[in-house]
């Protein structure tokens, strides 16, 4: 089997977490001052693509750990619809956490510049300390992964999640939501994910190989998840799209029952990410039964099997952190399908996709920032 960079990135995740989690923790500890943590009243996480999925996944950790209202928007929504009145005229300074591994994605830079122009407190989560995003932020949390062969974001996504999780733990700790010992225990849970990821690679890889062989010729895939797993559904669809060009869509479990359930083509496979003890589990069970009646080929990504075909990941991890584990089966499936179909990531950046080869389709967009007092 050819060992692609994508697969190598997945297999390196355990070591990546092991090698970087305490360094990220140390940076997160120093990113926001104690008075600034205590001034927080509202948090918006934003990003594009994988960085949006990281924001979407981490919003629940932020909300639970800090006790603050927290939500996640894609960067266009954040920049042009949300940030303009984030405080709703009240006298506080919302925190906008803008995520971009490169720090050069235009819409995220725009969201950060807009947020800063309108008086919000902006923290950049990025691997590039000298980027446009870093320059537009009040504070920067560096989340650079050690150099590695390029592939559709796996290590960079994991680093964004790790950074957002550590920053949330820190904020809750400083705000007195729990003790230092309890914060330390949460941090050790993140560190322990290194072993859980290694275990997941070993358990999921053979199942993924069989599944990819069955689904290798499909033109469409549907990904489902709710809560933190909603982000994983988006991430899984994104990896397949990038790696294979297969039309992959992601949807919330409940919304699926209202919408895509009625899709006439019942041969479209479904990937349902559903933590065994997740808050949405009971609904996932109901939807899995509906899928079975339709005859839709379905696989669950879970720490507790729900369907006959099951992509496992390590058990015993709290739902908040599980998006870090979901990377493994979801990215492995994308990689297997890519290899079987002889595809290149991003269509090789050739032909009609040539504009994307240097990232300019997402980096060169015109940035619009409102005047501070407009």
């Amino acid at each position: 089997m050819t060992h692609t960079a994508l697969r190598a990135q997945v297999e390196s995740l355990g070591a990546l977490i092991r090698d970087t989690t305490w360094e990220v923790e140390d940076h997160a500890r120093r990113t926001i001052s104690t008075p600034d943590h205590h001034a927080l009243q509202l948090v918006l996480l934003t990003g594009c693509g994988d960085s949006f999925f990281a924001a979407r996944a981490a919003q629940f950790a932020w909300q639970e750990l800090t006790g603050l209202p927290c939500f996640a928007d894609d960067a266009l929504t954040a920049a042009r619809y949300r940030i303009g009145d984030l405080a709703g005229g009240r006298r506080f300074r919302p925190l906008v956490v803008a995520v971009s591994n490169s720090g050069e994605v235009a819409r995220v830079v725009e969201a950060a510049r807009t947020a800063q122009a309108l008086g919000n407190f902006v923290v950049a989560v990025t691997a590039a300390a000298d980027s446009r995003l870093a320059a537009a932020a009040d504070k920067v949390l560096p989340v650079a992964a050690p150099p590695f062969a390029a592939a559709p974001g796996v290590r960079s996504y994991a680093m964004s999640l790790l950074g957002l999780f550590h920053l949330a733990i820190r904020s809750g700790e400083v705000r007195g939501r729990y003790t230092m010992d309890e914060a330390g225990a949460l941090r050790r849970e993140l560190a322990a994910l290194a072993d859980a990821v290694d275990q997941t690679v070993a358990e999921a890889a053979p199942v993924v190989a069989r599944l990819a062989a069955d689904w290798g010729d499909r033109a469409q895939l549907q990904y489902l998840g709710s809560g933190p797993s909603r982000a994983s559904a988006g991430y899984g669809a994104a990896k397949v799209l990038e790696a294979t060009g297969i039309s992959a869509r992601d949807q919330d479990v409940e919304e699926f029952a209202h919408l895509e359930y009625f899709t006439a083509d019942t041969s479209i496979p479904v990937v349902l990410t559903t933590p065994g003890d997740g808050a949405a589990r009971s609904r996932a069970e109901e939807v899995a039964a509906l899928l079975e009646k339709l005859g839709r080929p379905t696989v669950t990504v879970s720490d507790q099997p729900l369907t006959g075909v099951h992509l496992p990941y390590a058990a015993g991890v709290r739902e908040l952190w599980q998006p870090l584990l979901h990377i493994v089966p979801l990215a492995l499936l994308a990689e297997e399908l890519m290899r079987l179909r002889g595809e290149e990531p991003g269509r090789g950046g050739r032909d009609g996709w040539a504009d994307s080869a240097d990232g300019s389709t997402t980096r060169s967009s015109r940035i619009t920032v409102p005047l501070a007092n407009s």
Partner: protein, 134 residues
């Protein structure tokens, strides 16, 4: 020989450790000498407090908090505001206590007991007792 005792604090309050100190002195076999109680912590302290009225313990801890309240503008921000305040409290009150040992027991007044004062709980803690003499 050093005797070491473990405890789990359940918040910021004064915890009676007199029995453990007496036990360490008794088991040392020293009849006349000195016992040193020492805490290997920087956000806790040790002291003697009057015990007959338990509310007196609360008064002591309340006043410590009044002197050094938990604030968010401490320069030490590596940990938490409570931790930063705890460092100051621990330094001012102290982390060791010497007691005269006579007739094989620590010499304490009729209303005195030895207290472990937690300033950053709940935490897993310990303290040591070293007895010297003959």
């Amino acid at each position: 020989m050093v005797a070491t005792f473990q405890l789990r604090t359940d918040g910021n309050r004064a915890i009676d450790i007199t029995d453990e100190v007496v036990k360490a002195v008794t088991e040392s076999g020293v009849r006349e000498g000195v016992a040193v109680v020492s805490l290997p912590h920087t956000t806790a302290s040790v002291g003697i407090i009057s015990f007959p009225d338990p509310l007196g313990l609360v008064d002591v801890m309340d006043e410590v908090n009044r002197w050094i309240p938990t604030r968010i503008d401490f320069k030490h921000q590596h940990d938490t505001p409570q931790d930063a305040a705890g460092h100051v409290k621990s330094t001012l009150i102290g982390t060791s206590l010497s007691l005269i040992v006579t007739d094989g027991a620590p010499l304490l007044g009729h209303s005195q007991k030895v207290y472990f004062m937690e300033h950053d709980g709940p935490r897993n803690r310990q303290f040591h007792v070293q007895v010297v003499g003959q």
